[in-house]
């Protein structure tokens, strides 16, 4: 008999039918009678003081029902308790082109747009900062008065003795890498529908990954008790981190609804999505790595500057992840990290898939490839020599409980034909590999407390239907289906019997949200605990009837039966009636929650709170490319990615997460870039911000590695982010293998590659080498 009946099966996503029929409702698909259209007036200036705002002409339009400005909601907010520097609408200054200045609610979109044109704002223009390095040397005109030199946060960590270790290293490399800014480009533009209820409460349907943080933020800014704010998450059309902190429209819509006492819906244009941003920042990585003659990693030193834009957002977390996860994938005894999060007059950056790890991983894995060459060691072999010995704790205090990276490397090199290809492909074709990893949720919550990170309730009444109540947010990653599979497995019932109520602050218990790849590990464990609790109640009643030990009972295929007596067998429906009868309370309820263990929460140094996770995922990838040496254009021919997800609760879904991560990494590697000109985004559209179409996307092969984490639900851990970071250096390394040029800035554009090839040809001609020599 199979060990599991539902776990490990590729169950169709529970919301699949609603998606393929077009009947499922995303926020912008919702409408209610009397609904107004909300529109936001954005700043045309990168940095300016607001002298005055005159809204009278806009208010005079008959279609306009309300106009709000910063004065209507002065309370600051921000996702981090240390970074409450944003306001729903600018109060005293605007800090980037696109900053929110005023908003109107009108009966039609056309009237709302017309009203915006009638709002007059008197600005006093201030000098602005666009370059992070210049910004952190600024003597005046800081974005925020309490952030001198425009430095949002800086961290300085030393573990071991890096200086000594570099002296003892045989091969040492230093290089500066630079990554362009990228945006999540989720297909669904942000949308919020806020409904003012007759009793003064407000219900907010919103495209969010974090309904509970949103509830809290709306309450703070709109000055309502949290109990008067209900946030409901409809279907969400992709997040990737873009919706993992409250976004201006999510606060402005309820603000307008409360003021106008009418429902208000705001839909962002694609340009507004880019201006709300929260993507991956421009990152400058000054990296130094030393290895021994045998290829053992000795020391790493990194100085990282991130161009965070105008607000704190998740910034300190991003820059801490860059440091904490930089060295923690391999066994590295000596690490120095200096990280700077800098403010500039541009849209705020934030969390994006692979949060904080991606650009440093590009730098690190590129350099490892170069060091392998220096040492005459195959790049795969070099990595093999630096594996951690799990269970262990890394030098910076991260507890590693399961470590499938060696298996990922073996499988990915075998499937890709690494040993037959590496060093054996003709000039112009190449193969490269890289590794990456990610957290399975943060061990420490954003707002420090000792409360559980997530709670799941299960209810079963006399209809024998199982209802799960979970605050976790399905954003396309399979959160809802994961709950159903876990509960079905534990209770021994068919998934069809289970209904899920999710992500509605009025109905479901708190879950911190869909970010940092925490849902399967944390909500999954909470669901497992709740279902186990429920099973105890049912088994106790059934055991009384059978006169047996509850521990000898089993639930499977909608029956409860004794392992010892084949006649002792009840249908699940019968068992529920027994249990309800026995407990004297009525319908059955059970609860489970998850709090990360104390020993997973990291060290004591400043900033030690970010990086620790109850468990880590691992990925190894091989990319094959061909390069047109006359154009610099790269054809990525194939990517093979192996990912250690602990256990694949749903293999098709895990495959989809791995492939999707690789795809997004490939976009950043090859063609995605937010292009700035004096704080002005030159490409705020899908036409000019070039996410890959089917024609640039190569065959991507996923390999699932299951290391069975001791603390994950059924051994499961992260699957949705960890594979992104390895893709970029794998491709960069393959380009080097193909044409012998190493590109240190992202994206790896044809133009840069061509320039590097020509530069190399010039050098080779200079020393009389044969053209095409590698």
């Amino acid at each position: 008999m199979a060990r599991f009946s539902v776990i490990g099966k590729s169950l169709a996503m529970v919301d699949s039918s609603s998606k393929v029929t077009g009947l499922g409702r995303y926020t912008n698909d919702l409408s209610v009678p009397g609904m107004l259209v909300g529109k936001i007036l954005h700043s045309p200036h990168a940095h300016a003081r607001i002298r005055s705002i005159d809204t009278s002409r806009a208010e005079a339009l008959p279609e306009v029902k309300f106009v709000v400005t910063g004065k209507d909601a002065p309370n600051p907010f921000g996702i981090l308790p240390i970074g409450h520097d944003e306001r729903a609408l600018a109060l005293d200054k605007v800090r980037f082109i696109g900053d929110n200045v005023a908003a109107v609610a009108a009966t039609t979109e056309e009237a709302a747009e017309r009203a915006l044109d009638l709002i007059h704002v008197d600005y006093e223009i201030l000098p602005a900062w666009f370059d992070p390095v210049e910004s952190m040397q600024s003597a005046s005109n800081w974005l925020h008065a309490d952030r001198p030199y425009n430095i949002e946060k800086e961290y300085h960590h030393v573990f071991g003795d890096p200086d000594q270790a570099f002296r003892q290293s045989t091969f040492v490399r230093e290089e500066t890498y630079r990554a362009a800014e990228v945006n999540h480009a989720a297909m669904e533009p942000n949308a919020t529908l806020a409904i003012y209820e007759p009793d003064g409460r407000v219900t907010v349907h919103s495209s969010t990954q974090v309904p509970y943080y949103l509830q809290r933020t709306i309450a703070e800014v709109c000055e309502l008790p949290m109990s008067q704010v209900r946030v409901v998450k409809p279907l969400v059309g992709g997040g990737f981190g873009a919706k993992s902190e409250p976004i201006s429209l999510e606060i402005i819509a309820p603000l307008l609804a409360i003021k106008a006492k009418r429902p208000v819906k705001i839909l962002f244009t694609r340009e507004e999505v880019f201006l709300a941003h929260r993507g991956r920042p421009i990152t400058i990585v000054e990296l130094k790595v030393g290895i021994t003659k045998e290829g053992k990693l000795n020391a790493v030193a990194a100085r990282v500057i991130q161009d965070g834009g105008a607000f704190c957002g998740y910034g300190p977390v991003t820059v801490l992840y860059s440091g904490a996860l930089l060295g923690a994938i391999y066994d590295i005894p000596n690490v120095r990290y200096d990280g700077f999060r800098v403010l500039t007059n541009k849209p705020a950056c934030g969390a994006m898939r692979g949060h904080g790890t991606v650009n440093v991983r590009f730098a690190f894995e590129s350099m490892l490839d170069a060091l392998a060459r220096d040492a005459g060691i195959d790049p795969v072999e070099l990595r093999r020599r630096n594996m951690l010995a799990a269970p262990c704790t890394t030098v910076n205090g991260l507890r590693v409980t399961s470590y499938g990276l060696p298996e990922c490397i073996e499988k990915v090199t075998a499937q890709s034909g690494w040993s037959e290809k590496k060093g054996k492909l003709p000039f112009g074709r190449g193969i490269g590999m890289a590794c990456s990893h990610y957290v399975s949720g943060a061990a420490n919550p954003i707002i420090r407390s000792n409360m559980p990170h997530t709670t799941v309730n299960i209810k079963i009444d006399r209809d024998a239907a199982v209802t799960i109540y979970s605050g976790a947010s399905e954003i396309g990653q399979g959160s809802d289906t994961m709950h159903v599979q876990i509960a079905a497995e534990v209770l021994g019932v068919s998934p069809a019997r289970i209904r899920l109520v999710a992500a509605d602050t009025e109905l479901t218990p708190v879950d911190l949200g869909s970010y940092s790849s925490r849902v399967t590990f944390m909500a999954g464990n909470a669901c497992l605990a709740a279902a186990t609790n429920m099973r105890h109640q049912i088994f106790a009643a059934v055991a009384l009837t059978f006169g047996c030990d509850p521990a000898r009972l089993e639930a499977r295929d909608d029956f409860i039966f004794s392992q010892d007596d084949s006649r002792a067998r009840l249908s699940f429906d019968q068992a529920i009636v027994l249990a309800i009868t026995a407990n004297h309370h009525g319908g059955l309820v059970a609860q489970g929650s998850y709090t990360p263990p104390e020993e997973a929460r990291g060290g004591k140094h400043k900033g030690a709170g970010v990086g620790p996770s109850p468990s880590y995922s691992y990925s190894a990838q091989v990319a094959e490319v061909s390069v047109d040496t006359e154009t610099g254009q790269v054809l990525v021919e194939r990517i093979v990615a192996a990912h250690d997800c602990g256990r694949a609760l749903n293999p098709v879904t895990v495959d989809g997460q791995i492939i999707g991560s690789v795809y997004m990494g490939l976009g950043q590697a090859m063609q995605e870039e937010m292009i700035w000109n004096h704080g002005r985004l030159m490409n705020p559209s899908f036409l000019e911000y070039r996410i890959p179409s089917t024609l640039e996307t190569p065959p991507i092969e996923s390999i699932i590695v299951e290391s069975e984490d001791p603390e994950g639900p059924f051994g499961a851990k992260e699957a949705g982010e960890g594979s992104l970071a390895a893709t970029i250096p794998a491709v960069a390394n393959a380009i080097f293998d193909a044409v012998g040029v190493r590109i240190t800035t992202l994206p790896l554009s044809a133009e840069k590659i061509l320039a590097a090839i020509r530069e190399q040809e010039k050098i080779e001609r200079g020393v009389g080498q044969k053209s095409g020599a590698r």
């Binding site: 393929v20 839909l267 396309g476 179409s693």
Partner: protein, 172 residues
Amino acid sequence: MNSKEFIQLQVNGETRDLAVPPAKLLLDVLREDLGLTGAKRACDDSSCGACAVLVDGVPILSCVAIASCYQDSEILTVEGIAPPGELTPVQESYAAAGGSQCGFCTPGFMISIKALLDRNPHPTDEEIRMALSSNFCRCTGYMQIYESVRLAIVRSSCPPASAVATLSRVER
């Protein structure tokens, strides 16, 4: 202000009489006036394919189509590609093979895939890739969408051997 104009559209086999501003876009008429919210607004510059619908069997972008200009045509939206309560083979295989993640692009893909298979029931992998090259998906990396199409072909007919050979992890 714009006055409204009476127009008549044939949508999903039904005749619909409407009063709309003359230049109102088909996407907005479908979503706001007919409650057919399957087609999505996602890009604002006719580049993403999320708004696709079939007009006389040809897939087009409803976000740049002026509704009143399509009164002589048969319009089919994602809501109309299968009878109520039923799923097309592609819709079923999407569930099995992971074609949808967030699902926002799915209605547009459904339209492009239907148009492809109506024209060419046994497309090659390259033909599938080409036919879907104006539909963006940000979640799947497209692989499981291709897999869904191949699975639908396998399940609904006698497939070419190549289609069977390329299926992985999904039950046939």
